[in-house]
């Protein structure tokens, strides 16, 4: 056995007490790498044996609580399954015709027109907006107050965060 192997195989009484407190009095449930060194120490140390006895006494005490049955009531079961049915029902609920996305947002705005007409109408609106925006004087269209502009930026930022959250679908985001 090399010096390094001997060192790795040793366990101090402090380490033993720490493991006994953490994992209890049954060496078989200790971390596997700690079991052999623990048994070696136990064979020659009354302090280690006392620490293990203390841990076993605590295990026995905790076991009294561990054996206490905790079963869901019928009422709780009913509520949980009702919640599930409600969530599933909401997910499956038909989209009202007025909100149906089948026609597309342009068709919702412009009604049942030929496919080209909404596009033409939008182009006209954009052109009108450009003309108005570039020709009117600043006195006619005063700039936004600083606090209003700041609020608008914050709202944009908030929506950007929400968008990002939708893209991060890991378990941490679901808590």
């Amino acid at each position: 056995m090399t010096v390094i192997e001997m060192k790795n195989d040793m366990m101090t009484i402090e380490d033993f007490e720490e493991r006994a407190m953490a994992y209890g009095g049954d060496l078989d449930v200790w971390p596997e790498e700690d079991r052999a060194p623990a048994r070696s120490l136990l064979a020659g140390s009354s302090v280690a044996r006392t620490a293990l006895d203390d841990a076993r006494a605590l295990d026995a005490t905790l076991a009294q609580w561990g054996g206490e049955a905790v079963a869901p009531s019928q009422a709780l079961l009913g509520r949980v399954l009702t919640d599930a049915a409600t969530v599933a029902g909401a997910a499956e609920a038909p989209v009202p015709a007025a909100l149906s996305p089948k026609k597309g947002w342009m068709a919702s705005l412009f009604g049942d027109m030929s496919p080209m007409r909404p596009g033409l109408a939008l182009a006209a609106c954009l052109a009108l907006g450009f003309v108005v925006g570039t020709t009117l004087d600043e006195q006619v269209l005063p700039s936004l107050a600083p606090e209003v502009a700041e609020e608008a930026v914050m709202i944009d930022f908030a929506f950007a965060i929400e968008d990002d959250d939708d893209l991060l679908l890991g378990p941490e985001t679901l808590l």
Binding site: D28, V80, A88, P171
Partner: protein
């Protein structure tokens, strides 16, 4: 639905008593029942089935997890009504987020316990705030013990000692000792390292032993 609930209830009564679970040589590998991995895969499949509209998947997930989540919340909060609320809310979050679940990203039961534990922390913090305002803490089983309704005085002594522990030490003991979680999973639920779990366990159990020292005769009597 009544028959379905009765079936779930019967299954939940079969929750095995807790024991420590072995930690493997790698510090992250824990010994588990042979079916644990399969269960994890099945949980993923079930949550996806529920997201696709399969209601029977909700019943199976409830059957599998509600009892353990309720037990954790009950031991953390010592209040049956609050524990039921926490268990229901944790399951509700599972239903609501089912469509976003990514199979294999995390173990469903770990995620669910983490949600439940965080809900417990929230309620414990609210209690502390309320107690600062001289509002009585809603600890029902201790009150019932004082009224003579709690037959097992030893259990009450132990619960009181456990309740006096810091939240994370208490949670670590709950998860390791009663929930049979390995160090790696306990670490994930608590959001700490495996070394920190060992430290929490050691400090928590030592504090528990010291608090119970004066009650040892009572605790060990048959």
């Amino acid at each position: 639905m009544t028959a379905g609930i009765a079936t779930v209830s019967a299954s939940l009564m079969e929750v095995a008593p807790a024991r420590h679970r072995q930690r493997g040589a790698s510090m992250t590998e824990t010994a588990r029942p042979a079916t644990a991995g399969v269960d994890a895969e099945d949980d993923d499949a079930l949550i996806l089935r529920f997201a696709a509209g399969d209601q029977s998947a909700a019943r199976l997930l409830t059957e599998r997890h509600l009892g353990r989540v309720l037990a954790l919340a009950t031991r953390m909060l010592r209040d049956t009504a609050e524990a039921e609320d926490v268990a229901q809310e944790a399951m509700m979050r599972a239903w609501r987020n089912a469509s976003k679940w990514e199979p294999g990203r995390a173990k469903f039961s770990t995620w669910l316990h983490k949600v439940a534990l965080n809900l417990c922390y929230d309620r414990l913090r609210k209690r502390r705030s309320a107690s600062l305002d001289d509002v009585a803490e809603p600890v029902d089983d201790r009150a019932s013990a004082q009224d003579g309704m709690e037959a097992d005085e030893r259990l009450t002594v132990l619960k009181d000692a456990m309740e006096a522990l810091p939240e994370r030490q208490r949670a670590a003991i709950q998860l390791r000792h009663f929930e049979e979680r390995g160090n790696d999973e306990t670490a994930e639920i608590l959001g700490v390292s495996i070394e920190a779990v060992e430290s929490l366990l050691s400090r928590g159990r030592r504090a528990l032993r010291d608090r119970l020292a004066g009650q040892r005769a009572l605790l060990l009597e048959e």
